[in-house]
């Protein structure tokens, strides 16, 4: 029942956008993304849950069911998930123009902040205290990277699929030992995965 409703609301984006895309809507779109992006620490999922709260619960512009599908699309595309989610929300509410506005709103705050940091970085880094803190942080980042590696590789190996495990080992060896181009590795693994998906779907059809 629920998914049926989601599909119904999802099928009328054009009608919705025509009704709502006035100046006030566009301003709200930009402002919301700008504030959320500028005030949210901790990346990805945190920003997405803030966007959901604002657009679904407060403004009620998108239904909860539809927003789940939109986030799934954002996750399936390359790029930054928070940016992708804001693109698709903007598009859903006000078409391509809306998408451009939400992307600008999401990208501007970090861009401004990092431009300032980048300009001051050299002086900032030459301060002895800052240099020591940043040196200490290198160890913290190393710990975070080991932790993420353990979690992600663990999740792949837990499935106990020979092919996934082999792909993991071969891809890591290709990058680390043979200095293979990362993009080449993604393309090769993507092709393997595409073939497997295609075979799965064909099997599912004949069954």
């Amino acid at each position: 029942m629920e998914s049926g409703q989601a599909i119904q609301t999802a099928s009328q984006p054009a009608a919705q956008s025509a009704r709502k895309a006035d100046a006030h809507t566009l301003w709200t779109l930009f402002k919301t993304c700008f504030i959320i992006s500028g005030c949210t620490f901790g990346g990805g999922m945190v920003i997405i849950s803030m966007l959901q709260k604002k657009f679904v619960e407060e403004l009620k512009w998108i239904s909860q069911e539809e927003v789940m599908d939109l986030v799934a699309i954002a996750q399936s595309c390359p790029g930054v998930m928070a940016v992708n989610t804001s693109i698709i929300i903007g598009y859903r509410i006000a078409g391509v123009g809306g998408a451009l506005l939400t992307v600008a709103g999401t990208v501007l705050p970090p861009m401004i902040i990092l431009t300032i940091i980048s300009t001051c970085y050299v002086q900032f880094r030459s301060n002895q205290l800052v240099a020591l803190i940043l040196k200490g942080m290198q160890a913290g980042v190393a710990a975070v990277m080991i932790n993420v590696t353990l979690t992600m590789s663990g999740n792949v190996l837990k499935k106990k699929e020979v092919l996934s495990a082999a792909m993991l080992v071969c891809a890591a060896a290709a990058i680390l030992l043979f200095d293979a181009d990362v993009i080449l590795v993604i393309i090769v693994c993507g092709c393997i995965s595409g073939l497997l998906t295609w075979r799965h779907m064909k099997e599912a059809k004949t069954r």
Binding site: A10, C39, F41, G42, G43, G44, I73, S76, C77, P78, G79, V80, A82, Y91, A99, V103, V107, P109, P110, M111, L114, T115, I117, S118, T119, Y121, L129, L132, I133, L134, K135, G136, M137, Q138, A139, G140, V141, A142, A143, V144, M145, I146, N147, V148, L150, M152, V156, S164, A165, M167, L168, I175, L176, V182, I186, S193, G194, L196, T197, M201
Partner: protein
């Protein structure tokens, strides 16, 4: 021409960034540090630390930082816009496909199949970043030039991340403070 180089590099990074955040570190590192030498390995890790403490996604932060460092504000615009451009086009196409067919199974299948590759890239990035923190580069890994403080700190925070569920931001902040104290009193 630096702007063209920035646009080309970050467009390609944006197009092949799957899995979000830290998963793309090896892709970005390979282009920004290894190919173009726009940043050193240490600066690259600095940017990850800074990104964790400022709002906004990691990829955008790196694009903006590199753009500004190499070519000022026009460079920032070039790198950041080039980085989000492929996503913009692909997301809009996918949105249209979704509203037409309401079926993402094929895409989801392919992406699930990419998980091992993403895990491998994270592993590769981890090796490079840990190597840089512990020995000043994985190529120079030797007992003689091991940074003992960095090894101990990294292992302590790894345990805290795994067992005490300490967040990554807190881990990096705390290791910055405790690291500064250790390096100050024990020596670099």
């Amino acid at each position: 021409m630096i702007y063209l180089e920035l646009i080309k590099t970050f467009f390609i990074i944006g197009m092949f960034s799957f899995g979000g955040g830290l998963a793309n570190m090896e892709l970005i590192r390979s282009r920004v540090v290894a190919d173009h030498s726009w940043l050193t390995n240490t600066e690259f890790t600095d940017i990850i630390s800074i990104s964790e403490m400022t709002p906004g996604p990691l990829g955008i932060n790196i694009a903006s930082f590199v753009g500004t460092r190499t070519a000022g504000i026009p460079g920032t615009l070039a790198a950041t816009l080039a980085y989000v451009a492929p996503a913009m086009v692909i997301v809009l196409i996918m949105a249209r496909v979704y509203y037409k067919y309401r079926n993402l199974d094929a895409v989801k299948g392919v992406l699930n199949g990419l998980h091992p590759a993403v895990a491998a890239m994270v592993l590769a990035a981890a090796v490079k970043i840990v190597g840089n923190a512990w020995w000043g580069g994985i190529e120079q890994a030797a007992p003689a030039n091991t940074d003992g403080i960095a090894v101990v700190l990294a292992l302590i925070f790894l345990v805290l991340l795994q067992k005490k569920k300490l967040g990554p931001v807190q881990s990096i902040l705390l290791s910055g403070v405790s690291g500064a104290v250790c390096y100050y009193f024990i020596g670099v």
